[in-house]
Symmetry: C3
C-alpha cells in the first residue's frame, strides 16, 4: 500500500500551492467549458465568450418576448416587472459607469515596503475594470481603478446605474451584479442562458441602466461584480467594486476604506508569477496606505474576491464583531464582507494583512498610519 | 535561489486544483492508512475496511464487557448508560433507516441549465446512501436519495432511529453519527478502535437502534453522517443526511430546504472528472430547483460535507445572520450549518450557489423560482 | 479544447493536497523571497534570515534615532511612546520567556489511539518554541512545549514580558507579536524593514521587554507568535502561544484548554510525511487528552496557526456562539479563536477534532474524557 505521506507526494503538495492559495479555477462560459490553468487559456475563454449568442428568450420590460422555441417556458420567466421608485423622501442616486480594459501595474513601486525589498520581474498586464464617468458618459471622473467606483446610497434611495460595455477588443458581454441591494430579475445582472433577463447580457458597445433599491436590509457594505457569461475570468481580471448603503441620514465614518482581497494569477495575467492582492495591488506601499488620526471613527471593510478564504488582521487594534464580541482577525469568504470599526486611539505605523501566512507573504499586506 | 513564483510552479499550482477545490484526502481506516488519490484507491480502502476487526472491548448497555486484555482501561470506558426517555409531553419519534448502495447519476439531465450547455461524459457511479424505510424495515418510503432522510423532532422528544447496514457487497461497518442532538457514548455512532461503544460499529447485515434526545440546545438544523472505520470515504460517497429540531410546538417554515454542499471526485466515483455538488447533483436543473411563493416564510439551510469551505449566496435576497445583521453570503465549513430565512417578497427566477467561483463553475449552483 | 475535468489533471488535483491541506507556502524573508517547498528550503530561508541587517532606522524609546539616509521619513515613524502603566487597582504581570530550539516528537506514543494503529516512521525534528523561565531567566519553569506558555492577565493589568532570543544556532532575529492586547508600535513585535521599531528585531542572544495592556476590549483568548523577518517558517516550527485576558475579578472556568490547530509539513520538519497537529502533536493519545467532571464549567479555545481554515467539533456537546445560537462545529481561520464553553453534563469518552475530514484523518483529533 502506498504511503500517502511519502515525501514525493508531499512535495507535489507543496508545489501545488506555492503561490499561497487555491488559485486554480475553472470557467463555464456560455456553452463551453474552459479550464484556466495557464496563460493561453484566457484567450480561449475569451474566444468562447465571444461565441456566446445573445439570449433569444429574454423578456423585455415592455412585455415583448421572443417565442420559446423548443424551451420549456416557466411562468416565472414570463413575469414582467416595473421600475422601482424611491421611498417618500428617498432619492434617485445616479451613476455612469463603463467597463474598459486598462494597462494595470500590480506593483507600481517595484518594491515591498514591508520587508524593504525590490519585487523583480514584469508586474503589468491588461486588466478589466469599472470606471466612473460624468453624466451621459461624457468623461472619466478619474483614472481607471481596481476596484471600480464605490456606489453610495441611503435606505429609501434607488440607485440608477447607467452601464456601458466598452470591451470592444475582448468582444464579449459583461454585466453588473450587485449584492445587498434589492432588484427585480431584470436588474440582477446575471447571465442565465436561455433564462437571461435584459440586464444579464450587455454586449460590447451596448448600454443598460440598472435600478437597484436600498432597503432597510441593504444597510452595509457589499460587492458588485461581473456576472455575464465569462464572469469568473472577468471578475478575476478586476471587474468588481463596492456599494455602501447607510440608514437614512446616518453619518459616514470619518475614515472609511473598502479593501478587496483577491489575487492576480498567471492564467489571468500571463505574468511569470502570482500576486496576492488588496485592491488590485500587491505588497505594502502599493496596496492602500490608509491614514487616520486619533479620535476619528475609522471603518475598514474587507471583502473576498477570489476562490480563497481570508482573515483580516490590523496590528494594534480590536473591534466588535456583529455579536458585540471583540475580535482582531475574522474569517471571510468570496464576496463576503467583514467590517472593522473603532474610535482611533493608537498612533503609529501599523500593518494590516490577511493572516493566511502564505497570502500575507505573497503581497496581501498594507500600512495603516495613525497621526496623534 | 529559485523563484517561488516562477510560472512552472505556478502552472502546477493551477493544475493542482483544476476541479475547483481541495479535493484530495487521506483516510485512516481501522489499522491502516490509505490515501485516496485515484480511482483504484477506493477499492483498497474498502478492502482495508473489510479487515477491521469488531472491537473487542465494547461495553454493552447491559454492563457486560469483554476483558480488556493488554489495554489500559480507563474508568470512563467502564461507564454504563441507560436509554433516554422523552420529557413530559415529549414524544418518541421513530425512524427506520438502512444504508445501501445505489447507482447514482450526478447529472441526470446531462445538461447545465445555467449556461444551457450539455455536460458530456459518464456521470453515474455506485454511491452509498441512507434510505428511509417503513416500520420494521418493511419497504422503502421512497427511492434512495442523497442526502438521506431528514429527521424531524421537537425539544423534549427522543429520536429512536433503527439502523440497518445493508452494505453486504462493501463488506464493512458503518454507523450514524448525529450533530446537534444529545446522546450518551453508546449512541455517538463513532468507531474509536478499542474504545468503540455499541453504536460505533454496525457490521454488514447488522442492525442497531440509536436513541438521540432533542434538548433546548439542539434547536437548529444539523447533519448526520457515517463515522465508522471508513467514515471519510463512505461519507464522501453520499452517506449523510440532516436533523431538523424545533422548539416544542414551533411552526415549520412554509418552505424549507436543506442543501448539502459537497463534491464527487474521481477517487470516490471512478469517473473522469470531479463534480461540485448540492444534494448529490451537479449543475442547475439537477441540483434542487426550489419553488416558493410571495408571502411565504422561506428557509434554506446550507451544510458543508466535504473538505472545503463554502459560502452561500441567493440572488435577490438578504437575511439576518445569528447576530441580527443582514447578509447574503455567509461562510460555512464541513458539517457546519448556515441558515437563510426570510419572508418572500421578490418573484422571479433566481440563482443560488456557492460563491467560491470555482465551485460555482464546477456545478454548485441551482435555481430558486418564486411565484407572485 | 482540453477537458478541464480530465482525470489526468484531476489526479494531479488529488496528489496536490494528499496530506490534507493547503500546506505549501512562501516566505518573504528580509530582502529575499524564499519558497518553502521541500526540506532543504528551510535551510535556505534560515540563511537568508541570518543575512537580514539590523534595521538602521529604529526609533528607540528614549527618542534617539538614526538618520534616515535616503529614506522618506514619515511623521508617524518619528513618534515616541512611553511605557504603559496599570489602571488603578491593576497589576504588573511579569513573564520571562525565551525562544529556543527543541528536539520535538510529534507522535511520542508512536500510535493513533483513535483507530488503535501504529504510526510508522520518524516523527521527531528540531522545532522552535517559547519556554517560560523563572525570574531573571534563572531556570526553566517546566520542559519546553508547543505551544509556549499561556499568559494570563485581567483588564487593567500590564503584562511585562521579558523575552530572550536563544536561537544562537539558527542565527536570526525573532520576536513576540501578541493579538488582543493593546500596545504601542514599540511593543508590536513586528519586523517592518526600515520602519522596524525596537521590539521588532530581537537578534540571537539579545533580550527585550514587551509591555502589553489588558484593556476592556482585550477580554478573550488570543494567540501570540513570532513576527520577525522569518516569521512564517519560525511560527510554523512552533513559535507560538496564547494570552488569556479576563475581566477584573472574573473567575476562570473550572477546566480550560487552549488548542492550536496547525501542521508540521515536510519543508518545515524534513520528515517524510506531513502531520495535522493540535498543540504540536498529531493523533489521539498524543494531542491533549482533556479530562473534566460532570458539573464543571468547561472551556476549550481553538486557534488556527497554519495556512488552513478549520472547524471545531466535540462529540456529545453543543455550546452558544457569540450571538447566543447553539453550535457544535464553528469555522475559524489562522490566528482566529473560537471558544466552546458549557456546563458539563455528559460523562464518557468523547472525540474532539477538526471537521475537515482530511485534517481529522491526518492527526487533528483528540480525546475528551468526562468523569461522572
Amino acid at each position: 500500500m502506498p504511503d500517502p505521506f511519502d515525501s514525493r507526494s508531499s512535495r507535489r503538495n507543496f508545489l501545488a500551492t506555492a503561490a499561497g492559495g487555491a488559485a486554480a479555477f475553472y470557467c463555464t462560459i456560455g456553452n463551453e467549458n474552459v479550464s484556466l490553468e495557464k496563460a493561453g487559456d484566457a484567450a480561449k475563454a475569451d474566444a468562447a465568450a465571444a461565441r456566446v449568442e445573445r439570449p433569444r428568450f429574454v423578456t423585455s420590460r415592455s412585455g415583448a418576448r421572443a417565442a420559446a422555441t423548443g424551451a420549456v417556458v416557466d411562468p416565472v420567466d414570463q413575469l414582467t416587472f416595473g421600475k422601482p421608485v424611491p421611498d417618500p423622501g428617498g432619492r434617485i442616486v445616479e451613476y455612469w459607469i463603463r467597463a474598459r480594459t486598462v494597462k494595470w501595474n500590480i506593483v507600481p513601486t517595484k518594491r515591498d515596503a514591508w520587508h524593504d525589498v525590490p519585487i523583480p520581474g514584469k508586474t503589468q498586464f491588461k486588466a478589466v475594470c469599472y470606471q466612473q464617468m460624468t453624466d451621459g458618459f461624457a468623461s472619466p471622473v478619474g483614472p481607471p481603478s481596481i476596484p471600480g467606483p464605490t456606489l453610495h446610497a441611503e435606505v429609501g434611495d434607488v440607485i440608477v446605474c447607467h452601464f456601458r460595455n466598452e470591451l470592444i477588443d475582448l468582444n464579449q458581454a459583461v454585466t453588473m451584479h450587485p449584492h445587498g441591494v434589492r432588484y427585480t430579475p431584470d436588474y440582477d445582472g446575471v447571465y442565465l442562458g436561455k433564462y437571461t433577463r435584459i440586464g444579464g447580457f450587455i454586449g460590447p458597445g451596448e448600454e443598460f441602466t440598472y435600478r437597484w433599491e436600498a432597503r432597510p436590509d441593504s444597510v452595509g457594505v457589499w460587492p458588485y461584480h461581473d456576472h455575464g457569461p465569462n464572469h469568473t475570468l472577468n471578475t478575476f481580471r478586476g471587474l468588481f467594486g463596492s456599494l455602501v448603503i447607510r440608514p437614512k441620514g446616518a453619518p459616514a465614518p470619518d475614515n472609511e476604506t473598502v479593501l478587496f482581497f483577491h489575487s492576480f494569477d498567471p492564467p489571468i495575467t500571463g505574468l511569470q508569477r502570482g500576486f496576492q492582492c488588496i485592491n488590485g495591488r500587491a505588497f505594502a506601499g502599493n496596496t492602500p496606505t490608509i491614514r487616520a488620526k486619533v479620535g476619528q471613527d475609522v471603518a475598514m471593510h474587507a471583502i473576498g474576491m477570489n476562490n480563497d478564504f481570508h482573515d483580516f488582521h490590523i496590528h494594534g487594534h480590536r473591534w466588535k464583531n456583529d455579536a458585540g464580541v471583540f475580535t482582531d482577525n475574522p474569517t471571510f469568504g468570496p464576496n463576503e464582507t467583514v467590517t472593522a470599526r473603532w474610535i482611533e486611539d493608537n498612533p503609529g505605523r501599523w500593518m494590516y494583512h490577511c493572516h493566511v501566512f502564505a497570502h500575507q507573504d505573497g503581497g496581501m499586506t498594507g500600512y495603516y498610519l495613525v497621526d496623534p
